[in-house]
């Protein structure tokens, strides 16, 4: 066999690509195409669906659910900002001050995520309960008003989503920061840069690939999340994910649900594209 391989060296990469590539085409590309097809169909579960190329479904869906679409984007951006604000100093500390404990600290960051996502979110529901251990005590002491509530508010939902995606931000940031040679920072300081300046003009730009990766890894799932809104939120925090889920699983309105899924995906891709443009622009000025 090695003989055959040597003769057909050019084919090797394609052979390697075939299993995974075909799988992705069959179970990622094809479903998306099916979703496009279903979105353009009309009908119902009883009468069957017919492909009528109903492109009108897209503007209709956007108009009907504009609030939820906008809200999802908003929440996504807030979550991304929060995870970045919380996660960056943490990644920085681990990368530059971690020393021998770097790996252990990283593991501490990931470990909570070895329990089920649902259990964690339910625990948050418990922690944030109106009369639960924390809020209840604060209310009894008098610091908080009896009518104060965290659950069923946007705060709870955003907090939940932030919590869930924090490690996804810390890890890529860490990887990018860890690669920076500390001597570069020293050199900057030797050249009279203050610590802040050294950070802003050396460290931050050098870690930009981590910032980019981290923000994507939190923004994208955040926008499409629905569990946190379902368990911790209320009617006013309905995200587009909740709508899609209900359309699919309760209303059985497959065309509208598929159309919204595609709109969501498109929105995310456009945002990512614009974001990438934005960061590229930044790099050039340094």
């Amino acid at each position: 066999m090695t003989e055959w391989l040597r003769h057909h060296r050019g084919l090797i990469p394609y052979l390697f690509l075939v299993p995974g590539g075909l799988w992705l085409i069959a179970f990622f590309v094809l479903p998306l195409l099916t979703a496009v097809s279903v979105a353009l169909q009309e009908g119902s579960l009883g009468t069957g669906y017919r492909l009528t190329f109903n492109f009108g479904i897209f503007p209709e869906a956007i108009a009907r659910w504009d609030d939820q679409l906008v809200r999802s984007l908003q929440y996504g951006l807030i979550v991304t900002a929060l995870t970045m604000l919380i996660g960056y100093p943490m990644a920085y500390t681990i990368a530059f001050r971690g020393g021998r404990y770097k790996n252990i600290l990283l593991l501490f960051v990931i470990m909570p995520f070895f329990t089920s996502f649902i259990i964690r979110t339910i625990s948050w529901k418990f922690i944030l309960a109106d009369q639960g251990f924390f809020l209840g005590t604060l209310k009894d002491i008098g610091i908080l008003d009896q009518g104060f509530r965290l659950l069923a508010t946007p705060v709870a939902v955003i907090s939940g989503i932030t919590y869930n995606f924090l490690p996804f931000v810390v890890l890529p940031l860490y990887v990018a920061l860890e690669r920076i040679n500390p001597k570069l920072i020293e050199a900057a300081e030797d050249l009279y840069a203050s610590r802040t300046q050294a950070f802003l003009r050396v460290t931050l730009p050098l870690s930009i690939s981590g910032v980019f990766a981290g923000s994507l890894l939190s923004f994208i799932p955040a926008v499409g999340d629905y569990l946190n809104a379902e368990l911790l939120g209320s009617r006013n925090t309905t995200m587009i994910g909740n709508v899609i889920q209900r359309l699919y699983l309760v209303n059985n309105d497959y065309p509208q649900a598929s159309a919204l899924s595609l709109i969501l995906m498109l929105g995310i891709l456009v945002s990512v594209f614009l974001y990438r443009r934005l960061l590229r622009g930044q790099e050039l000025t340094i």
């Binding site: 089920s116 964690r120 919590y163």
Partner: protein
């Protein structure tokens, strides 16, 4: 490199006892902050673990009613459906990890070491599943299965899990393979090894940590997956789905116990791995920097 430019060393490079207090506080800020964040990350875990010991009388597990080990004792007796769901989760996770890691590593190798046409579209194909929200992935798969008349069960769940795991494996493995120094391979071949042997004895062991990391990531993603699984599961239950269903009624303490158990097993595994890594320091890839 203190003092190399001839200027006096700055305050934080002084040995501890000579550092002024404000500097010490300032230096402590980041580690303290990190500690707080870690506590924040662990808070729900602690709550979950503690309430696995709650001696509840009725259905509701939200006020402390006493300590008991009963739930740990009858962990696998109380809810047969829970056991089945855990078994399903493990089955899917193991299969999807093995398959996705294999496929993904192959793609990673192809991407980093070979020339071929279609690199751009391939990168897009790998990246898109990560960029797509889970609900879109799950819903489209459901659309596909429904259109094709395929009924949803453990197989469809596994298919879905393999799909999203491939991308994560490629991304994880690629970094490791790219950082690998080809000079080592060339050295091996100079010494007479053919390609297959070189791969087996030089390349593979050195990229293995990356493959392992990718495999662990895939396993974790699969075990915990909810959204995609909810759409592709049909009647089957996996652990996250069971917990979700139970949460509508009242999460039994056994769920807390199981969550704690999973966490502890992972903890033990990681501790062992770190210890193993410490011993194995020489196995790192050789880049002469650092």
């Amino acid at each position: 490199m203190a003092g190399s430019t001839g200027f006096a060393p700055t305050a934080d490079r002084l040995p501890d006892r000579r550092r002024p207090l404000p500097t010490r506080i300032r230096t402590a800020v980041l580690p303290v902050y990190t500690g707080l964040v870690v506590m924040y990350l662990f808070l729900p875990i602690v709550v979950m673990a503690v309430f696995g010991f709650n001696d509840i009388q009725g259905r509701f597990n939200f006020t402390w009613q006493g300590f008991t080990l009963e739930h740990w004792a009858n962990l696998f007796n109380r809810y047969p459906a829970l056991n089945q769901s855990l078994f399903n989760s493990l089955t899917v996770a193991v299969i999807s990890t093995l398959v996705a890691t294999t496929f993904g590593t192959l793609i990673g190798l192809a991407l980093t070491r070979y020339e071929f046409r279609g690199r751009g579209p391939l990168n897009l194909l790998i990246f898109l599943p990560i960029a797509t929200p889970e609900i879109v992935l799950g819903a489209s798969l459901l659309a596909l299965f429904v259109s094709a008349g395929v009924s949803r069960d453990l197989t469809t769940i596994t298919i879905a899990h393999i799909m999203f795991n491939i991308s994560f494996v490629v991304v994880t493995v690629r970094a490791r393979i790219a950082g690998f120094d080809r000079a080592l391979e060339e050295a091996a071949m100079d010494l007479g090894a053919d390609e297959l042997t070189t791969f087996r004895k030089v390349t593979f062991p050195l990229i293995f940590p990356g493959i392992l990391a990718a495999g662990l990531l895939a396993f974790a993603l699969s075990i915990d997956d909810f959204v995609i699984t909810q759409f592709t599961a049909g009647q089957t239950t996996t652990f996250p789905l069971w917990v979700y269903g139970a949460s509508r009624i009242g999460v039994p303490p056994q769920v807390n116990v199981m969550g704690t158990l999973i966490f502890l097993i992972a903890l033990v595994g990681i501790v062992l791995w770190v210890a193993f890594q410490r011993r194995d320091m020489t196995a790192r890839p050789t880049t002469l920097e650092r």
